[in-house]
Amino acid sequence: MERTAVRGRLTWQLATVVELIAETPRAKSIVFDVPDWPGHRAGQHVDVRLTAEDGYVAERSYSIASAPDDEHLMLTVERLDDGEVSPYLTDELRPGDQIELRGPIGGYFVWEQSLGGPVFLVAGGSGVVPLRAILRHHAAIMSDVPARLLYSARTLEDVIYRDELEHYDVRITLTRERERRRIDRELLAEVGWPPVERPLVYLCGPTAFVEAAADALVGLGHDPMRIRAERFGPTGK
């Protein structure tokens, strides 16, 4: 979507749950109907606000899993066992329920055709969510920019969007079974483009993951200005 779609006031809107999709044992996608949704750019996020009956309020941020080209807004939430908000979203919400959200938010961690590439997406765990939006958008516009995802998950059953990812250029590495290999400097060099190709890199996942990957890429000779990162944390973002 054009930039003008994301300017203007950021107001809280009521979003109605249309569908819930169990992606993995821990992750659930939630499809929303948002009447005044202005559109978004791939990689952006929303803030979600929940209010209890006694007025207690909790707010979290979640990456938008859907592409700008998709019909409905979709979020994918990973349930944190000791979380305050995620268990509510993954376990309690039913179609027809409403929650407040505001967005889209983000002008840095976005990709669109005009930014070029090649695009190297690197995901740790639930960090794959905004990168999936980028891949879907990339496919929807039939972009000729090369794009590839390197995605680290614990086990095969933790891989979110597993079937869909088979349609893209994706390398999955599992840390607790099969290859038992974390994303490290060697794997980044093996899967990614060399620095001379000046790939545009999007890193997303837990802070430690992102910082290690960024350090490794810079160590390989990549330009830090071509590396964009989004850190996820237990607060939901």
Binding site: S61, G106, Y108, P206, K237
Partner: protein, 83 residues
Amino acid sequence: MTALDGNAIGGLLHDVFGGEMTDALGVCAHCGRSAQVAETIVYLRGPGTVARCPHCANIVMVFVERRGVTCVDLLGLSSLVAR
């Protein structure tokens, strides 16, 4: 807590500044280096929200919410330019 980055305060910044600010360019008043707001290291959910320079770790922005009003301290920045 684990630090996050300026992406995590995108909504807060939009509220405070009236527009998208994660890609705004800031210059650290302490070390003079620049970074986009999304690249700052952010500590959330404390008595205030603190953003630190990714180069020198000095504080560049502090947000304190006081009964619905957000107070903003930008003394750690020598400039901040929105896109």
